[in-house]
């Protein structure tokens, strides 16, 4: 797991500022300072990535089962109670092969966390429980999370899931096999190892991107001329090739701006601005109107109660 730990000195600075009130400006400065360094938040654009080629996937679900084994997630039974057949990603299912089918075409698609380069969930998390590992994966500290579920609300791919039925629930999602230690030990994620057809491939993002481009160039008739995840929401570490348009596979239409970029102005400029501006404005107004009141008081003696 990553090493996003709390910086106690920084906390004390902020806490002191919040409680003391008059030191608010110092709090703003500390906040601004930390926003520059903030580890676990910094994107790793050329980190490890996974390429899923839907045209090579035969829907055997070996990846799904391997994921269960590696991460110890219990099976989700269907109504008959005989099959491990989840309907969607869930607190127990971190990856899932779905089938898209219409009269003219069909395709499998692997659902999982996209491991965004600039993940909305990481920016959303107030506690830094979700973080970016040095490998570029988006992982989770369950000891830090307090369950506000803002990550679930903010993720444009609606990936993080919750253990709703538990009394001590945690966020659940694919973490590129970081929490089970595979990635750290130089092993590729369990699902990639399990894939018998080579539909899944693990490597660095630049490598996989150039390979994906190559495949499209070689087989222009097979593939849609688009690598999903190359630019979407600022780019992701899960990359997809497909013969069927991506909207049909359930991928959202997103533009290239990373979601966190949408709030840099209100947060990084707005908040310090409000702290400094409003403090000055309110204090200034207090003294100005106060003096005016003194003056009027001197001019006219007014009685106290009506």
């Amino acid at each position: 797991m990553g090493n996003k730990t709390l910086d106690r000195r920084e906390f004390l600075k902020i806490a002191g500022a919040s409680v003391g009130g008059l030191l608010l400006t110092a709090g703003g400065a500390a906040a601004a300072e930390s926003s520059k360094t903030g580890d676990g938040i910094k994107s790793v654009p050329n980190g490890y990535a996974m390429l899923y080629d839907a045209t090579k996937c035969v829907g055997c679900r070996a990846c799904q089962t391997a994921c269960r084994e590696a991460n110890h997630t219990p099976p989700e039974l269907d109504v008959t109670g005989n099959y491990d057949e989840p309907m969607d990603l869930s607190g127990d299912t971190w990856t899932l092969i779905k089938l898209y089918k219409d009269p003219s075409e069909s395709s499998f698609v692997k659902k999982q966390c996209m491991h965004c380069i600039d993940p909305a969930c990481v920016t959303a998390c107030p506690l830094g429980a979700l973080h970016i590992t040095p490998e570029g994966a988006v992982a989770y500290h369950q000891d830090i999370c307090f369950g506000c579920r803002y990550c679930m609300v903010a993720c444009p791919f609606e990936v993080p899931r919750y253990q709703w039925r538990s009394v001590t629930p945690y966020i659940q999602k694919c973490d590129f096999c970081v929490s089970n230690g595979r990635l750290e030990h130089g092993e590729t994620p369990a699902c990639v190892v399990a894939c018998p057809t080579g539909a899944l491939k693990f490597g660095t993002r630049p490598e996989l991107l150039s390979e994906a481009h190559e495949r499209i160039k070689k087989e222009t008739n097979t593939y849609v001329d688009h690598i999903f995840g190359e630019h979407e929401a600022g780019g992701t570490h899960a990359l997809y090739l497909s013969a069927v348009p991506f909207e049909k596979l359930g991928f959202p239409k997103l533009n290239d701006t990373p979601y966190p970029a949408k709030i840099t102005i209100p947060l990084d400029i707005g908040v310090p601005g409000i702290i400094v501006g409003m403090t000055t404005f309110a204090t200034g107004t207090y003294f100005v109107t106060g003096r005016k009141e003194e003056r009027t008081k001197k001019e006219e003696t007014h009685d106290n109660d009506s």
């Binding site: 920084e10 906390f11 902020i14 008059l22 969607d88 959303a124 998390c125 506690l127 702290i275």
Partner: protein, 376 residues
């Protein structure tokens, strides 16, 4: 000096024990449900799901409730910072209700987060890029600030002179801090839905949500103050001073005008206009919100005769409040993408019980501490 609410017979308690009993029953029921939620989890108590991670508690108690409690910082600014001392009589009641509003919001958060015993985590683990952290820290700090502000009449009532003197020294810095913190988190509540804009319906999807949330919080803060002065006047047998409330109404009209202009320009700017006629419930809600909740009360509040009539002003203030409530629910509830969701009776019970408890506390506090009949 004119006062807004003149104590006519403040000591006469309201003679409706049935109301009290009813409120106590509701409050107790909610407490039982809260215990159930703690022991059986969110899945058992709520209809929330992976497709709908936030529900009634966040939309109503937090996003809407915090907006409705904006009266506290608005009136604090007017009285203590702008030195408009004639509004002093409604300062204490408004701050008391604001405090209770924040306590409701904070309690809802405690029940809503998956691991309530970790509610203190934002004090130790912090991601300063998260608008949620800002909301959490501001709400925590501001609730403390409001508690200190409420402690002034409390100490006064208890006759603890030295304690009161200490609080009084800090009153102005506390009010300034309250204004700063409120500006921060009222707007950050909007920022929450900018980062999560994928789920927000086109008509409300704009990067200016923080600004819009802040301005509408000021408008609703003024309207709530008018309402509270009226409630207090009728419940505790007092007179409301119409002139002063009318002035607040006029301020609210100008704030609404600003709000309207920015709201319309951001709609045009964000390209949300194309969603105007897309059909569906969200369009209706948008028109009701803008025409019924902003334009209508704004026009009414600009009319002097309306501001002079107690009834008309009271009703118009209600419209403003409902308009802002609708806006918050539009952004975070109705227009919020997700699987269909209807709150369970338990979610409602918690909600209603907290409001009941707040009313009981208010009633108790007002009758035992100098909230209305202060010597200023």
């Amino acid at each position: 000096m004119t006062t807004i609410v003149k104590p006519v017979n403040a000591r006469r308690s309201i003679s409706i024990p049935w109301g009290h009993i009813f409120l106590w029953i509701l409050a107790t029921l909610g407490a039982v449900v809260a215990v159930y939620r703690l022991f059986y989890g969110l899945g058992a108590a709520t209809n929330l799901s992976d497709g709908r991670p936030w529900g009634l508690w966040i939309s109503f108690d937090v996003v809407t409730g915090v907006a409705l409690a904006a009266g506290g910082f608005t009136i604090g600014f007017i009285v203590k910072i702008l030195h408009l001392k004639r509004f002093y009589p409604i300062l204490r009641p408004t701050i008391l209700t604001a405090f209770l509003g924040y306590v409701i919001a904070a309690s809802s958060v405690v029940l809503d987060i998956g691991l309530p015993w970790r509610i203190w985590h934002p004090l130790v683990y912090q991601n300063f890029h998260s608008p949620m952290l800002e909301v959490a820290l501001c709400v925590m700090t501001y609730t403390t600030v409001l508690a200190l502000e409420v402690s002034d009449p409390f100490f006064e009532g208890m006759g603890w002179k030295s304690a009161k003197r200490v609080v009084e020294v800090f009153m102005i810095p506390l009010m300034v801090l309250g204004v700063v913190l409120s500006t921060m988190h009222q707007s950050s509540l909007g920022t929450l839905f900018v980062l999560a804009s994928k789920r927000v319906f086109g008509l409300w999807k704009t990067g200016y949500l923080p600004l819009l949330f802040f301005i509408s919080a000021v408008a609703v803060g003024l309207a709530m103050t008018i309402l509270e002065a009226n409630f207090a006047a009728s419940a505790y047998d007092m007179d409301a001073e119409q002139d002063l409330l009318g002035d607040l109404g006029l301020y609210a009209a100008w704030v609404l005008l600003t709000y309207l202009v920015i709201k319309i320009s951001t709609l045009v700017g964000s390209g949300g206009v194309r969603d105007l006629w897309s059909g569906g419930i969200n369009n209706v809600l948008y028109f009701v919100e803008v025409i019924g909740g902003i334009i209508l009360p704004m026009i009414l509040l600009f009319i002097p005769s309306i501001r002079k009539s107690r009834k008309a002003l009271f009703r118009t203030a209600w419209i403003v409040v409902l308009g802002v409530v609708l806006n918050r629910l539009d952004v975070s509830f109705f227009g919020f993408a997700g699987t269909p969701y209807i709150p369970t009776w338990m979610e409602w019970a918690i909600n209603i019980s907290m409001i009941s408890a707040a009313i009981l506390f208010y009633d108790f506090f007002v009758r035992h501490f100098p909230i209305f009949n202060n010597e200023h």
